[in-house]
């Protein structure tokens, strides 16, 4: 792992009740934040990805077993991201359009959404994080395509870089129940802000995903002394995150001039320091921005 200039280890936010602080600190030290196992259907689809004998019908059957997955596959196959020329109604047709790799990605997305990004106490907040992560994943893919990097790995880097936040929120709910002490939203946010990257890195290391995915999640806020990101993947996720935020918070409305806030947000994005590190010129940034609407629609289709 590249040594980045990390912020000094921060103490657990003082606003947490002392009983919670103690247990949370112990969890951090023990790296005991674990991601749930991939659901069976995702595991089977992953196996099918590597099985040369897998056929469309088997895949469609696998998807059909999971109602949430079925509905998401159909919605995504019909989204602008996959540019359908005709409306797709059959699952087999949708599976065919999306492709095996995309199907696996969707399975990971859905399992993340239902198992990781699912904290009823903080439902809205977690939904927002998930939407940003999913949009980041789609933008990371596009950046990878432009830079001729691995597209699949880029998707996972984008999708999972903030996975530490829901894990911390979920643990806070458990600690609240166990300790019986009230925890303010402010304290929860402070804990998530301070530790989500570390928690994500630790948790993802255990999920048998490419090493770059865990490394990127653990360093996605890091900067070297010269202000650059410690790795190209971190720079990619930083830019993808900024693009995701712009796409979700400032949607393009046809025949309507963008708001002053949208213009300011776009200008800020164009000045993002990681763009230079990725060697993305104005033309490439324009191409990424042109994907805003289709990626936003794809996110809407899933979340």
């Amino acid at each position: 792992m590249i040594a980045a200039e990390r912020k000094p280890e921060m103490p657990v936010p003082a606003k947490l009740p002392s009983a919670v602080t103690e247990r949370f600190a112990a969890d951090l030290a023990a790296k005991s934040f674990e991601l749930p196992l991939l659901p069976d259907v995702a595991t089977q689809i992953l196996a099918a990805v590597r099985d040369p004998n897998a056929d469309l019908r088997t895949l469609a059957d696998l998807v059909r077993r999971d109602a949430a997955l079925t509905s998401h596959v159909l919605r995504l196959a019909n989204s602008a991201l996959y540019s359908p020329t005709v409306r797709i109604g059959s699952l087999q047709q949708a599976v065919s359009r999306l492709g095996l790799k995309a199907l696996f990605e969707i399975a990971v997305v859905i399992s993340c959404q239902t198992r990781v990004f699912s904290v009823p106490r903080y439902a809205e907040r977690v939904r927002g994080i998930f939407r940003r992560c999913l949009a980041s994943a789609f933008f990371a893919q596009e950046i990878a395509r432009q830079r001729r990097w691995n597209v699949e790995e880029a998707f996972l880097c984008g999708l999972l870089h903030e996975v530490g936040r829901p894990l911390i929120l979920s643990r806070m709910v458990e600690l609240h129940t166990a300790c019986g002490a009230p925890i303010s939203d402010e304290a929860v946010d402070a804990a998530a802000d301070a530790y989500h990257a570390k928690v994500a890195g630790d948790a993802l290391s255990a999920w048998a995903l490419p090493a770059k995915v865990a490394e990127t999640a653990s360093m996605h806020h890091d900067q070297l002394a010269d202000g650059t990101a410690p790795t190209k993947e971190v720079a990619m996720v930083q830019v993808a995150g900024a693009l995701a935020q712009l796409a979700l918070e400032h949607p393009i409305v046809e025949h309507k001039a963008p708001s002053a806030a949208a213009v300011a947000a776009e200008l800020a994005l164009r000045a993002h320091p990681a763009l230079a590190q990725l060697n993305l010129y104005v033309e490439e940034v324009d191409r990424l921005l042109a994907r805003r609407t289709s990626i936003r629609e794809a996110v809407e289709g899933v979340s």
Partner: protein, 468 residues
């Protein structure tokens, strides 16, 4: 800003050497490139990465051969390409650092950005952050390189259908790969992937691969490809390449044959990177193939503008590009230019590798006849020891069997071996000199002696026949 003597566009092999040559001659050179570090596609996507993977493939095949089957070497199906090229970052970084230092040592000024002509002597350079500055040059050298050509019938998505810039971003080795094209890049990747156990199908409209080379050599390549897990489908043009959405890409050929593979590599040539340059402003244009026309001294039709490397077309070899860069500067600054460098060797890093210098047998026969001496590697002790007996060296001489006209080699070490022939041609050695000189034993270089003896034997027979 004070004008530069030379503004060089592009920091690949041609651009680097042009800028360094200019500085060495006392001129003030500016080197502009759109990437942060020098090297061009050669370092990032081309020569260096593919040869790094090739070395791994060679090491694996060599281990299989040399162990005589005592040790089974099989790649794990989960093996990642990245792990096979674990040294790649290190190799690229070392090469970039070397070039960086060379440019710094020669005090070449560098600008990072995209250039376009704003007048025949001036270029505007737009940085990645959007800042613009203008550089004026007494001379301009265009060396912006090339990128893969992706024809409309092949939708390259860099995920299922890849080009030579993205092929090495694959995470896992595919089970099968269709390679579209039969040129150098196509054949090099085909043999690398085949030797790593990937089922490779090379598809090309030409009847045989590497059509610019002597067929006797390319037959060795085709045989080796078939002995691995590959095949060559010649005389076929793909009409469509479609990802089936599941796990394979179907390549449909003109004759209706469909070839299904997990991935496709599109290696159907390269196009020059000239669109963004606004060549018309400088009074330049491209030819029908999208290339800038230049003469032997790399002069374009605009007297103070030169073009070198891939932007002027084949042979598109790094070695040639470097020479073209130097040649352009020599002409621009009125420096003496060596004429010996007209003899440029070609190296194709297939497995086995192929190299050629001078003229080959088919060309020599067209030009009035020749005597050809052959040395098969199976006759060389070194090749037997190294378990690489498949190889051939051809020594092409004039019709009298005395003057060496060319050397072609296929087999282990071909790209190195060919240089002995190159020096012999340049030195004007008669064939007999190769027999009289002593070579180390056991070496592959002995092939020269064996081939020379073969020429002499044929010459003697011809003399006897003529006398009789």
């Amino acid at each position: 800003m004070k004008p530069f003597d030379v503004v060089v566009l592009g920091a690949g092999p041609a651009g680097q050497k042009a800028a360094i040559c200019a500085q060495k001659a006392g001129a003030r050179a500016l080197l502009v490139d759109e990437e942060q570090r020098p090297g061009g596609a050669c370092v990032r996507h081309g020569t260096i990465p593919s040869k790094t993977l090739r070395e791994t493939a060679l090491a694996l095949t060599a281990f299989r051969r040399l162990s005589g089957g005592a040790v089974a070497v099989a790649l794990d199906s989960e093996v990642t390409l990245h792990s096979l090229m674990s040294r790649l970052d290190q190799v690229i970084s070392a090469h970039e650092t070397f070039i960086d230092e060379q440019l710094r040592r020669n005090q070449v000024e560098r600008w990072h950005g995209r250039a376009r002509f704003v007048s025949p002597h001036s270029v505007e350079v737009r940085g990645v952050d959007g800042t613009r500055r203008v550089a004026e040059g007494r001379f301009v050298v265009i060396a912006t390189g090339s990128r893969p050509r992706n024809p409309p019938e092949v939708q390259v998505d860099h995920e299922h259908v890849l080009d030579s810039d993205s092929i090495l971003s694959l995470t896992y080795l595919p089970k099968s790969l269709a390679v579209l094209g039969g040129g150098v890049i196509a054949c090099e990747y085909a043999s690398i992937f085949a030797s790593l156990g990937v089922e490779v199908t090379v598809i090309d409209r030409a009847p045989r691969p590497l059509g610019f080379l002597d067929p006797e050599l390319t037959d060795c390549f085709t045989r080796a490809l078939e002995e691995a897990v590959g095949r060559f489908v010649g005389g076929s043009k793909p009409t469509s390449v479609v990802f089936d959405g599941l796990s394979s890409v179907t390549t449909t050929l003109e004759n209706g044959v469909k070839i299904e593979t997990e991935k496709v590599l599109c290696a159907l040539g390269r196009v020059a990177n000239v669109e963004a340059l606004d060549l018309a402003v400088a009074g330049l244009s491209t030819n029908a193939r999208g290339l800038i026309e230049a003469d032997a001294h790399c002069r374009t039709k605009v007297p103070h503008i030169y073009a070198a490397g891939d932007v002027i077309g084949p042979p598109s070899l790094a070695s040639t590009s470097m020479e073209q860069g130097r040649r352009a500067i020599c002409d621009a600054l009125g420096l003496p230019s060596s004429t010996s460098a007209t003899l440029i060797p070609a190296g194709v890093y297939t497995i086995p590798e192929i190299a050629s210098v001078g003229i080959d047998e088919p060309e020599a026969r067209k030009k009035g006849g020749c005597v050809v001496g052959r040395a098969r590697f199976s006759e060389l002790a070194r090749a037997q020891i190294a378990a690489t007996p498949e190889g051939l060296l051809k020594l092409v001489t004039d019709a009298e069997g005395r003057r060496i006209l060319g050397v072609q080699v296929v087999g282990t070490g071909a790209a190195e071996l060919v240089h002995i022939g190159q020096v012999a041609i340049l030195a004007g050695w008669p064939v007999d000199e190769l027999v009289e000189q002593i070579f180390n034993f056991p070496t592959l270089a002995e092939a020269y002696r064996v081939a020379a003896l073969d020429v002499i034997k044929q010459r003697s027979r011809a003399l006897v026949a003529a006398a009789g």
